[in-house]
């Protein structure tokens, strides 16, 4: 938590130069979206780079959404759902896990750094974890630089 806060604060726009990644997050309604809400309620800061799309379940996230996000200017994509065993729909996150495991392999094989697709489990109680995830993903994508493929 402390880490996330410092990251957010030390990386204020005024202090930064250069590349700011665009990151799109597909957040499941029941766990991660609520976890992100909790981060807000608890005022735990994180970088502004991520913008969330609310979906019912990480299992809802079509692989094509990720591909299209990259095609439409995202530098990185985060899919986040409930922890294994906690899925509101029992098993959606397990399907998502397999789907994105494969998509990352397809990315690797076709020359897109798979790190541009990140996945996390974050529960409705993990506001601090959410902030940390965002900070971590933002940093990762920042290191990778702008996505210039497709």
């Amino acid at each position: 938590m402390a880490d996330a806060e410092t990251t957010a604060k030390t990386k204020k726009k005024a202090d930064r130069t250069g590349f700011e990644p665009h990151i799109i997050g597909f957040l499941c309604n029941w766990c991660t979206y609520a976890g992100a809400d909790l981060a807000g309620t608890s005022r735990i800061g994180y970088p502004t780079n991520i913008k969330a799309v609310r979906v019912p379940c990480s299992g809802r996230v079509d692989a094509m959404y990720v591909i299209n996000a990259l095609k439409n200017g995202a530098d990185g994509v985060l899919v986040s759902g409930c922890h294994p065993g906690d899925c509101h729909y029992n098993q959606g996150n397990y399907y998502a896990r397999r789907r994105f495991m494969i998509l990352r392999e397809i990315f690797s094989a076709m020359g897109i750094n798979p790190e541009r697709l990140q996945m996390s489990w974050c529960s409705a109680a993990e506001g601090a974890k959410w902030a940390q995830i965002v900070a971590q993903v933002t940093e990762k994508i920042r290191e990778l630089g702008p996505f210039e493929g497709i």
């Binding site: 609520a34 809400d37 913008k51 799309v53 379940c57 299992g59 439409n72």
Partner: protein, 674 residues
Amino acid sequence: MARIGVFVCWCGSNIAGTVDVKKVAEEVSKLPYVVYSTDYKYMCSDPGQNMIKEAIKEHRLTGVVVSACSPRMHEVTFRRTVQEEGVNPYMMEMANIREHCSWVHDDMEEATEKAIELVRMAVAKAVELEPMEKIEVPVTKRALVIGGGIAGIQAALDIADGGVEVILVEKSPSIGGKMSQLDETFPTLDCSQCILTPKMVDAAQHPNIKIYSYAELEELDGFIGNFQARIRQKARSVDMELCNGCGDCWNKCPQKKIPSEFEAGMSDRAAIYVPFPQAIPNTPVIDRENCIYFQSGKCGVCAKICPTGAISYDQSDEFITEEVGAVVVATGYDLFNTDVIGEYGYGEIPDVISGLQFERLSSASGPTEGKIVRPSDGKKPEEVAFICCVGSRDDKYGRPYCSRICCMYTAKHAILLHHKSHGSQAYVFYIDVRAGGKGYEEFLRRATEEEGAIYMRGRVSRLYRDNGKVVVKGADTLSGAQIELHCDMVVLANGITASPGAEELARKLSISYDEYGFYSEAHPKLRPVETNTAGIYLAGCCQAPKDIPDSVSQASAAASKVLALFSGDFLTREPNIAEVNPFTCTGCFTCREVCPYDAIDEEEVTVHIDGKKVTRTIARVNLGKCQGCGICCAVCRSNAINLKGTKDLQIFRQIKAFTGSEKEKSDEPVGSKK
């Protein structure tokens, strides 16, 4: 053409302190389809909501974007607001610029920029929103309760008292369950039979309850409000109408050497039997596997002796289909099988018995009429050891969980021993004593302080026979001393395991279960009686180990859920469910494989493709079962299935709006809403 109004909330200084709301409103007013945008201090207040209504009227808005707090907070509020002004409630979209923006960022410029992006995404989705109507499903106001133990009986009684018909299915010949085998109950020491039997009678005589005993659920079809339960009535071999329960048959039956299930094997029963004298129904069944007539064709004594001619050897299993609207699963538990613990010698050393066997020994209706004696020689046991956590909290046997009842029933056994077998000494080996219920700690202290039980903290490593005694070897971990006790009898506090066949039943019901076979509740805290399959509820130990008060509470809770479900003639459900495009569905049914709710049915359709009539079997979403997760949509290769409220097109629009036109490359036609 879509006409979108955007309403940017300040939330006092909660948003406006970090986000330049004026700028957001101004910037988004330039977006396509946005015909009106404004900002206000508190959008959720009455004046705020009125602003929205006024704007809908004045600007003929077809869709509304409220840029404020989390939709998890106020989506319902603003949906109602637009509905009151005649706009379909699902034409309202929220942009979360508080929890996801102003509260987590502190640089005004950056937060404002992000807020604009979030609103832009919400507007893009709002343009593609479609009006939806809530789904109404008719309800069959009858309930099925599976399992006739105390939880099932309580649920059935509560539902029936609410004026709803109940079908109660019990797999053994009598209702009553495990509670009927118990002697006295903790922490009050009231007699189990005395409090249970009246409830059994109530259930049997209740005009709204129909009991199928010696019956099992074969198949469950349908969905919430509209289930079809196929019940297998196993062949009793006795006509329930004719039998008057006189008991001549079981008294005269020549095959009497079958260990009685009810007496936990402490005495025998006949091949034709009622499990216990107060059984309901009081009609015997023939245990065909042990009946001489069924095994060799010779005998037939019961048929000859029966004064009413009720014996019917050629009865066969029958199947009955009952229409119900809800199901309560109350299938209970089984006791951990202590045979697998070799070092305790259960089954080999006659004076090592299970907790349930001790209940029968202690019960006035049991094989010894309540006299506590050693099974080996019928003598009074002077020193009795009780071992806790047998098959509980033990990774070695795959059961790391606490069974929750054994600490308390062991304390009860120690007290009962003290009461019924004067001068006998109880030694209790425990790991931790868990006495978390109302009056439980006091009861435990009574056992140790008033009733003389000696508690020792430690696991017993081995039991063996020596000179007519059972030697208990273990350690007292508090004093660090090795202990070797020569006892007359040892009672194992077996833990609770899922009942046999729990997984199979779960599959029939399409409900989920954990790695131990206990059924999973929909939410561990907030929805403890529902399952993830709508219309199916849980009561008692089938969900997790519980004592009687907890089982009864959960049963009443499940009953109240059922009654609430039946309070209207229709079920109203949110309309965000999947729908199939009949023109592009190939009928591969990949969707069905991944659906957690079994909500994909088959449908024959005739469609015109390229001027030709084609009949195909395609997928159809069951309105009653679909819960709107959208897993099906993501696995469909032809994207022929879509989730209302989170359609592919709506998400694509959000993705595109996310970076605006900065890096636009798509050759997609611009603007779908002409």
